[in-house]
Amino acid sequence: MTSPQPRIGVLRFPGACDDRDALWALAALDADAVFVWHSDTELPDVDAVVLPGGFSYGDYLRCGAIARFAPAMEAVVDFADSGGLVLGICNGFQILCEAGLLPGVLRRNESLSFVCRDVPLTVERSDTPFTTRCEEGQLLTIPVKHGEGNWYADDDLYEQLEARRQILLRYAGPVNGSRNDVAGVVNERGNVMGLMPHPEHAVDPLLGSADGALILSSLVESARSRTLTAV
């Protein structure tokens, strides 16, 4: 008996550019990955949702600020509120922050320069649906490519996040000016994660690193176990 493939929706916004890579990577990691159009008001029957990277709606006003009001995002908010797994990558992270699903905000890089390179990251927790295949303290190499990845939270919020262990990934060295080198966070409930690095660009050694597959296959496995529980 083969275990069922979990179904994972990949949102497509106008201006997204990593939607195909996300779909391809999830399929390669044994998920039934399907596109969801930004103007759809309902999600198909999915076990998880991925918001890919790009420049949704031209990133006008602030990155993610317009995409947050896309009809499909209302469905994503409902999905997340009911405990559904949601992963936002890069622009997807920015959108989830603007939508209030994740804490903080992504600002212009401190250097004002676009950063595009492989970066080392430390995994802070392995007990979330997005990091089950990782080990705490593990060093991952995953590429970043962004102009606005400088994550910020004020002192009060940052202390709360630390206390609740919501910081999931940190850069091993400075990358974009992000507060305390935060590269990825999770919501309090633990079902919504956002990160600036691109795991979908690092799922095969041919691409320089396959460490991104650890994050994405954690998501696929978590989505699969939810399917099995539902059955």
């Binding site: 006003l61 009001f69 903080g104 905000v105 212009r108 401190e110 250097s111 004002l112 939270a153 000016g177």
Partner: protein
């Protein structure tokens, strides 16, 4: 009714764009201690009176035009215009 919204980076929030402009101004020989860069949004609002218009624009700021974590905003209403 015409309204202008000024969105600014909050006090104490790092503004790398402002810093870059500040250092360029200094290179040009200007004595500048600080430059901060915000955004102007000009609006033409349909509203019966000024207080309704202001309330509407405030909601726009809260929901979309500014991110309260890092930005503050000011609203100017130009009555009689439009």
């Amino acid at each position: 009714m015409r309204a202008t919204v000024l969105v600014r980076p909050k006090e104490g929030i790092l503004d790398p764009q402002g810093q870059a402009v500040e250092s360029s101004l200094r290179q040009l020989g200007f004595a500048v201690d600080e430059a901060r860069i915000g955004r102007v949004v000009d609006l033409e609002v349909e509203a019966a009176d000024a207080s309704t218009a202001r309330a509407q624009v405030e909601r726009m700021c809260e929901q979309l035009l500014a991110n309260p974590l890092i930005e503050s905003y000011e609203i100017e209403l130009l009555e009689g215009a439009g």
